[in-house]
Structures are given as structure tokens and as C-alpha cells.
Amino acid sequence: MNRKEFLHQLSLLSGGVAFGMGGMPVKAFAHNPFSVSLEGTNGKILVLVQLSGGNDGLNTVVPYENSLYYNKRATIAIKKENVLTLNSQMGLNPGMTAMKELYDNGKMTIVQNVGYPSPNRSHFRSTDIWLTGSDANVLWDEGWAGRYLTKLYPGFPVQIPEQPMAIQLGSVESLLIQTDVGSTGVVFNNPTSFYNLVTGTTVDNEPVPDTLAGEELKFMRQIATQSVAYSDIIKKKWDGATKNVSPYPTTNLGNQLKIVGELIGGGLQTPVYLTNIGGFDTHANQVVAGATGTGTHANLLKTVADAVAAFQKDLEKRGLADKVVLMTFSEFGRRVTQNGTTGTDHGSAAPLFVVGSGVRGGILGKNPVLSDLDSNGDIKFEFDFRQIYSTILQDHLGVETSVTKNIMGDKDFTTLPIFKYAASTIVASNQEFSFELNAANPFTTYTSVVYSLKKSMGVKIAMYDMTGRELSVLRQGTIAAGTYSEIIEGERFVPGYYLCAMQCDAGQKVIRLIKM
């Protein structure tokens, strides 16, 4: 099956109903309903750089006038004369000259003391908290970017966008882009090898056995499907991009960001990218004894700074710098007091960086307070990390306040003055129609959905399985303004996961259902 046939198979739309994207001022895809354009993002793109292992914030943005810093870190503190001075109190690690230049040019905002209440010091748990945007005491299994992307493309996965919604450079898929309705991204190291690898892969949407094992097979098919669907457009855009516009360091992270730069330059409209660099778990020997501005940690920071600065320069030369913002994050900072092995143990709040032509620059937040630590000896957070997510969603990606709140688990997080101008709203809650669950989920005997229309329009409500096969149509036709509900009878469905999708002239929305 080639990609066209494949997309055709996935297109579940019948004639007579024109579909737009839920809530977005882009409509009229009727001519090609299954290839949803990504124009709706206004070209705005978010690139995340994950520093895995827990970056030591105090040796990254150094409080070089704070005597407590030097007391608590006798052999690992960065000496005052070595820091790259930002202001009268704070300076960057000497490895970060490239980022210092970004800061000096107002293209980098430093947000101090970022964390969350009741910090968890497990790498795995705290990473998941950052990736999902959950509170410390709850487990979520949807990434925050995944939730954003399903708002942006409310028809997913019944309809899949023509271009990948998210791209992760690497090999093991991140929770960041996973959602209850499937993965929103593709994962690869290199567009050409990805394309070549996909050749020969077959996809289908036959029913799977009604067992737990069958659910795993569904997952495998979805991955196969996305590989086939996206490999050629990624390759095409990448091939079309001008290469070597600007030099990158030959580090792994440098190479990841180089590919991102080329994909964006080639016109790929994917709004979210994830890159990664590991090695920040510096329990031991994070600095060279006697030369604390050098060593493992300084090298890591240099790698990050050089790659990020090269990326910014690349985008500027391509004339795309105002479209893109890059943010670094790490699962936690490290203990204020050093341990006995010239390193630091797991801590809590730490600074992060937001880079792009659209940022205001400067430092947000207080200098880290070392005299008032939590009971564990860690820095208390000043900004919740979800304030920064909310800020990026609203002010960069143009997500309406109420939708942002919804993405963040129906919580309000005060946004921060990171960006020069707030973006115009792209992803808004839909005023034309609503479609919600109206009874139990998971359900056994029955459940129900309720929908309302502001005006008369074409509507189709149908049940699909997780591979997008249409199982039954609950309602189809032109319906007058008003509020209606539909019953979904349990006996018609074997236990498992289903999608109930409403597609109408004003957009579409998908609800995930579980039959027990």
C-alpha cells in the first residue's frame, strides 16, 4: 500500500459534510478532507531541549555574590572571576559563552527557581511530572504537548494530519507526545534513514483479537501506520531544505537541532519538536578539582549553549527566527550543599532558558534564596513549571486562555512576561458547536453524548475503533440549531477502547470511550 492509498483508507469521511478544524479560523478542507493542513498553527513552532538527569541550576546560573553558595559548595562552586556576568549578582557557567551572547542580544530569557509543589526527587517520577504537567501526587499518562496537539487537531486519530504533529529526535518515544488516543508524534534520528527503513512496512486496519494482547497489536499497527504515513513527507521537506545555512557543532545535540532547523527550513509545519541530551546526573566529579569552571558539567552546558546558539543563528539566516521558540528543561535541580564526591545529589527548583527572537530577554524571578531552603536542603520554587508551559501555549502558540487552562488539567497558571508580544489566538474553544460525554465512561450497558449547535449544519456522529474503522453511525444529516443527545448501547460493542467522533461544518471532536 502506498501512502496515498493508506491515507485514503484512513479517510473516514463521507460526502456532503465539509470539515474544518475544531475552533480554528481555517475551514474548507472539503476538497481534500483527510489531509488536514497544519496552517492553523500560524507557523509557530516549539522546540524543547530536555536535559536528562537533573541539571545543577546553581552551577548553571551562578549566584556569584552569595557567600552561602561558596560555603555550601566549597570545592565545586564556580569562582566569581570565572562566571560570565549577567548582572551584579548572577553569572553563567563559563562553558556557556554562546548563550551569554544570546542573553546579551535579548534573545534569551532566564526563568529562575522553576519547580513545583512537593517536589519528587526520583528521576523517573519527576521527569513524568514535567512531561505530563501533572501535580506531584497524581499520575497522568498523557504528555502536555500531546494534550495541546489533540486540541489543535481535534479530529485525531480518526483523521490524521498530513504532516506529523510532533517530531522527536531519538529512538525511544517520550511521554511528552503520548495521549489517550495514541501517539501524536514520530520518532527518528535522521530523515533519510527513516524513509529508507520504512520501505516494505505494511499497514492494515483489520480487527484485532479481543484480548489484552490484541490491544498491544493495535498499538503496534498504529506505530506502523504513522511510520508509513509520515516518512515520505519528512524526507521530501528535508530534501527540499537548504543545507548548511549556518554551522552547527558536531555534537549529538548539535546534530539533532541541525535536523530540526533543516526540517523547519524545508517548510515542515510540525509545531512541536523534542530533542534530548543526557548526562546531567552529576552525583560525582561534576567539576575538575581546583578548576571548577571546567569538567563534566561545564562541558555539558557548553554543548547545550553551542547547539542552541547555532540553532538560533540558523533560523535567523533562514528568516524563521520569529516563528520558533526553544525551551530547555530538566527534571529537577540539584542539592544546594555538595556531597562528598565532588558532586551534588537530587534537588528541586532550578532555572530554565527560553530562547528565540520573540522573547523579551533578561532574568525573570528572584536570585535563588539559599538561606531559606526546604526541609531537604533544596531551593524552594518560585515559578511553577506549568506557568511557563501556559505562557508558551498562550503567548507563542496562540492558544486561548480557557483552552490552555483545560490542557493544564483545568488549572489556572499565571503567565509570565517572557514574550514581547502575545500571539493572536489560533486555538480557541469552539463557539459554533460542543460535543461532550453525558454519562458513564467506562460504560457497560449504555453511555451517552450530548452536542449542541449554534446554527443549522451538516453533522455526522459515529463510532470508530482505535484503528479508525467506522463501526456505526449514530447520527448523520443536516441538523437545526439546538442541543441533542445520542445513546450508545453497550451491547453493540465488545469490551475495549472506542472513539466517538462528531464531525460537523464547524469542526470536529473525538471522545475516547471504554466499554467494560
Binding site: 526520583s122 518515544e173 520518532v187 527518528f188 527503513l197 484480548t211 498491544e216 552525583h283 560525582a284 556531597n339
Partner: protein
């Protein structure tokens, strides 16, 4: 790492308490989680945290203070050559309070105290369950396992026997539910073609397997982090899924290919097909091969597609492994079977 692997192999049927104590002062562990660098005055918490979080209790079943106190008890151990050595001067020779108990504990005492907690038996049994039954644990059954585990003083053999002979283990819900790890996938492909260890060339074949399993995210002795491989769905991304297909293609391409640089002892495709009694009946041959390679049943449509792949430009009535070009047709069939999502399951 060899020493640590040997410890795991020797202890697999032994006692989990003893294994946990042994691994605490295992040289590779002392290096990996910094125990050899830690000392009584300014301890390093790395091992202390991970033994509780990842090896015995799980997140939420200890406090930050338990970690700090246990870190003291783990001090004193260093690595000399390939051996762990105890240096009293580096040991925190003071009272420690861990999970409400106080004493001048050493590493073995801490392990005993940790494993007294009921969460420990469940945590370890949950891991066994996830490895052998299904990656999402049935908590009711895990509790039963934990019971058996505790009653047998953390002996591993009885709880394994309990699990592997239970109705739960044979529940059809879990049949074929396990996504093969990269080693199982690659070695499994070789075994499917009856290649034995002796048939696999150490200077050409093994390096290929090594680099491919690395690309598939499982480089033996180099887990991605202290947690180890998560397994199941984590093995699969858009890249690793298609890469698995390229590995099976590569091995099949070596069949009957005198110029192949790897797997020179793999059988000729026609000879391989003739190991099936049904080799001269295209439909039955596909049926039999599918049953060998896949755990999931295939629909008639899919089987027909495979039959068409085998036949290529010939027709059903004319199929024979003696027809010219049969070699390539068998190879096409084998590649197609192993490119199916169903092939990734065991």
C-alpha cells in the same frame, strides 16, 4: 559487569535478600552508583535512593530522610581492582534511623530493614509478573505472589513456580501480548532459520547483531539508565519498528546469497522452504510458516496477500519450489511475514 552478570545468574534461583545484599557491594554497582566514592562524613545518596526507588520499594514508600540515613550505612565500601573492599575509616560509624528503627547499621542491616516492609515483596513480585505475564500488573495476583514470596523468606524459586503454574499465567488474554525485546527479536530470527551458536560467526555475524540491537535500543550491559530497560511499548517507536523490519530483511537477504558478508551458514531459501512438508502447496506453506513465525491468527485476506507474495507472477497451480525464481519468492514471503506488526510479539 561480567562479575555482576555472574552474580545474577548464580542468584536467579536463590534468595532475594541475599542477592540484594550481594549486589549492594558488587563492584560494578559500587562504581555505577558512586558507592565507592561515598564516605561517612559527606555521603553520596545515589545508591541509597535507587535501591529503595528502583530495586526494592518503589516511589512513595520511603522518605528523603530514610535515603539520607541509609546512605550513611552504605558507606565504607570501595573497589580495588575487581574486588569490593571495606574501609572502616570511610564508614559512618554512628547510629542511623531508618523506617523508625535506630542502630549503628551496616549495609546488610539496611537491606533486612527495607525488605521487612510489605511493599517490598509486592514491588519485586510486580516486576516478575510484568516480565513473565503482562506488563500491566494484576494487583490481586501480585498480592498472592507477594504472600508466597514472604512465606518462603524471599526465596525466588517458589514464587516463580507459583506464578508459572498459575491459571493467571495461562490466561488467553495474555497470549502473544509480549513485545519481543531487541535481543529476542534478532536472535529469534536467527533461530527461526535454525542457526545455532556454532553457525554464527564471531567476527562478522555477532558485530552485526550487536550494532542492530544497539540501534534497537538494547545494548547489552549498557542499560539506558539505572532503571534499566522499560520494555514492552518502550521498545517501539516509528524508527525502531521499521528498523526491526530492516534487520529481518537483511538476514533473509543472506539466504542463498554467496556474496553475503554475514550469516554465511544460513540455509538456502528453497532448502528452508522444503523443511516444511507442505512446501509444494503455496496455501498450506503460507499457513505453516505463519504458524511458526506469528502468535496471532491472521485473517484470510492477509493470508491471501502473503500467498500472492509467494506466488509473484506465477499462479497457484504452477507453484513449486523447483520453479525458476522460487528462491526469491520464498525470500519475499519471509520478509513480508516478518514485516507484519504481528511478528513483534511473543
Amino acid at each position: 559487569m561480567y562479575i555482576q552478570n555472574d552474580l545474577f545468574r548464580r542468584s536467579a534461583w536463590g534468595n532475594f535478600k541475599q542477592l540484594t545484599k550481594d549486589v549492594t557491594i558488587d563492584p560494578a554497582m559500587l562504581i555505577y552508583l558512586d558507592g565507592r566514592l561515598s564516605n561517612g562524613t559527606t555521603p553520596n545518596e545515589n545508591y541509597s535512593r535507587e535501591i529503595m526507588e528502583l530495586f526494592t520499594l518503589g516511589v512513595g514508600n520511603y522518605t528523603e530522610n530514610d535515603i539520607k540515613q541509609a546512605a550513611l550505612a552504605f558507606t565504607g565500601w570501595q573497589v580495588s581492582g575487581l574486588n569490593a573492599t571495606f574501609n572502616q575509616n570511610r564508614f559512618a560509624n554512628v547510629n542511623k534511623t531508618i523506617f523508625g528503627k535506630t542502630g549503628n547499621y551496616k549495609y546488610g542491616d539496611v537491606v533486612d530493614i527495607i525488605l521487612e516492609k510489605p511493599e517490598a515483596a509486592e514491588f519485586v513480585c510486580r516486576k516478575l509478573y510484568k516480565e513473565f505475564v503482562f506488563y500491566k500488573a494484576n494487583e490481586t495476583f501480585v498480592k498472592q505472589m507477594a504472600d508466597v514470596f514472604r512465606k518462603n523468606n524471599y526465596e525466588i524459586r517458589p514464587v516463580l513456580k507459583f506464578m508459572l503454574t498459575s491459571d493467571e499465567f495461562f490466561n488467553s488474554q495474555y497470549k502473544a501480548a509480549k513485545i519481543k525485546n531487541p535481543m529476542e527479536t534478532t536472535i529469534g530470527i536467527l533461530k527461526a532459520f535454525d542457526l545455532t551458536t556454532a553457525d554464527v560467526n564471531t567476527t562478522s555475524d555477532w558485530p552485526y547483531i550487536y550494532t542492530q540491537t544497539q540501534a534497537l535500543q538494547q545494548l547489552l550491559f549498557y542499560p539506558p539508565d539505572v532503571q534499566g530497560w522499560v520494555g514492552q511499548r518502550d521498545w517501539i517507536s516509528s524508527t525502531t519498528f521499521v528498523l526491526r523490519g530492516s534487520v529481518s530483511d537483511y538476514v533473509v537477504n543472506a539466504m542463498g546469497n554467496t556474496r553475503a558478508t554475514q550469516f554465511k551458514l544460513i540455509s538456502n531459501p528453497v532448502n528452508y522452504a522444503r523443511t516444511y512438508k507442505t512446501s509444494e502447496d503455496a496455501i498450506k506453506l503460507v499457513d505453516d510458516m505463519v504458524n511458526v513465525f506469528l502468535q496471532f491468527p491472521l485473517s484470510q485476506t492477509k493470508k491471501q496477500t502473503l500467498v500472492n507474495t509467494l506466488l509473484g507472477s506465477t499462479i497457484l497451480a504452477n507453484w513449486s519450489t523447483s520453479t525458476p525464481g522460487a528462491e526469491n519468492q520464498v525470500k519475499a514471503l519471509l520478509k513480508a511475514i516478518m514485516r507484519l506488526p504481528e511478528f513483534q510479539f511473543a
